[in-house]
Amino acid sequence: MATSAPELPYAKIREDLFRPLSGGSARYWITICAALSIVILGLVAWSIQVRDGMGVTGLNRPVFWGFYIVDFVFWIGISHAGTLISAILRLTDAAWRKPVTRAAEAITVFCLMIGGMFPIIHLGRSWLFYWLIPYPNPRLLWPNFRSPLLWDLVAILTYVTGSVIYLYLPLIPDMAQLGEHNVPWRRRLYRILSLGWTGSDREWHALERAMKLMACIILAIAVSVHTVVSWDFAMSIAPMWHSTIFGPYFVVGAIFSGIAALLLVMGTLRRALGLELYLTKHHFNNLSKLLLLMSLLWFYFTFAEYQTVWYGNEPSEMAVFASKIRGPYAPFFWTMVFCNFVVPFILLGIKKLRTITTAMIASVCVLIGMWLERYLIVAPTLGNPRMTSAAGVYVPTWIEFAITAATFSGMIVLYLLFSKLFPIIAVWEFKPHPVEEE
């Protein structure tokens, strides 16, 4: 006779998921300090750029977009991890999503915060960023509403607002619980943030309805945001940018890198916070399959894009094509193909090889590959404009490297702080479940 696996009681779930909020190991603080020191280095680099001007970067004519725009597209892409994946899984009522969604939603908010900084850094005169906002002013200048750059601003502001609310709503019941037993400052914080939640059926009804509605709305926003980001490129007639598939191509790439980021964060949190009973092999297996699917889709879109260019044989497009396939950008291009397609295909496609460790290795590769993909979209096209005599080369400086590294470290700092303030898994959503055998 089959015996059912022992079930985790609710009290243990609560204790396990609230425990990481208190205290902090030496390893935790060392990681925070190391990441913060890189963030400080990035701030120093940025302050030098503000003092001396954009000349300290490798940006030049005709390559006037470089690392900053690459980073912007990359981070906005990763932001699709959370809200989009969480919304899809919530709407399809996938039961396995519950331990995954909050980790994913937090990624979205932090990535948007980081990604949203890059247009400001890229402006050079960052203190004038508010000129982007349409308001009547004595200069009698209004932003050009037809510019995809302004569309970007509106789209990202909408996405940030939606994502913060989407993260905040399911946190309310957990914060109400945390407000009951805690040290005074935390108790005050959680009580304020939980808005006096009592757990009545009216509140639960409203919360569930709001979450369902928000999931629908956020899906529509997420798809539009990365489409608008792609239009920053596709609306110009630059070679290999002016493409109708750029919208879906960017969305696919965004979800692809987003899932990779989510797997990486989940794997790290599982070990660091001792959540082995909650983030199980089952979750990694499902997300690995999704990552593999997105890898295949990404390959399909990339192949379709390059095949069309090659077949068209249009000289200015072929100059960009050649620079990527066999020119100065070839090492990056083939590394991208290896990281985004070969590695996930082997590690995640062969069932025997698909483990938590290989899923994390594949995720790291995908993140590297997707950053390179963004770089290969930006730099080669600008370096090979239609007027061949204006061709140029982009060589980034340490300032750009430092600011890029700082954003990755900034992400680590934000996530570590978040995991100490809020439960990384929604306790109220997490019903008692059988313990999974590893």
Binding site: F145, P148, V154, A155, T158, L195, D201, H205
Partner: protein, 165 residues
């Protein structure tokens, strides 16, 4: 206030109270996780979807009108092309429409859940243990005995009477 450990008993209590003339608005169920009732037990009608749509239309419409007004007041040189075009404004209209629905949904959630409204702090709120559902019934003095009988016969594990201060 009465504690229940089984949802079926709680549902039976609610139905019996409704049959005894207690209004659904005078009943609240408190729990640490959402309790899903069958239709007709304790329905809470909502206008959240409608509000989200209205919010979307309002914000999207206002933003589009704002862009229209701005473009006509500060004319850009467009080389003979129309100053205002839906193709050029479509993204802004779309995004602000979505923003409107997000804000309206959130605002209505706060209103409908009662979190935003001024509370009557005199009404007691139970402390609920994990796995327990607490039914709070508001009724006047003459009905207390009857309500208590219904709750006890439905299988409440702990029934407490609390006066509104």
């Amino acid at each position: 206030m009465a504690d229940f450990r089984e949802q079926s008993k709680l549902e039976a209590a609610i139905l019996a109270l409704k049959a005894a003339g207690i209004d659904a608005d005078d009943m609240d169920v408190f729990s640490e996780e959402p309790v899903e009732f069958r239709r007709g037990i304790l329905d809470r009608p909502s206008r959240m979807s409608l509000v989200a749509v209205l919010g979307a239309i309002t914000t999207g419409g206002l933003a589009t009108a704002g862009v229209f007004a701005a473009q006509h007041n500060y004319r850009l040189i467009t080389g003979g092309m129309p100053v205002f075009s839906f193709w050029g404004t479509g993204v802004i209209t779309y995004e602000t429409t979505m923003l409107g629905s997000v804000l309206a949904t959130f605002g209505w959630f706060l209103w409908e859940s009662g979190l935003l409204r001024k509370r009557d702090h005199n009404i007691p709120v139970p402390t609920v243990l994990p796995g327990v559902m607490c039914l709070r019934v508001r009724c006047s003095d003459p009905h207390v005995t009857r309500v208590r009988q219904i709750l006890d016969s439905a299988g409440a594990t702990d029934t407490v009477r609390k006066e509104v201060a």
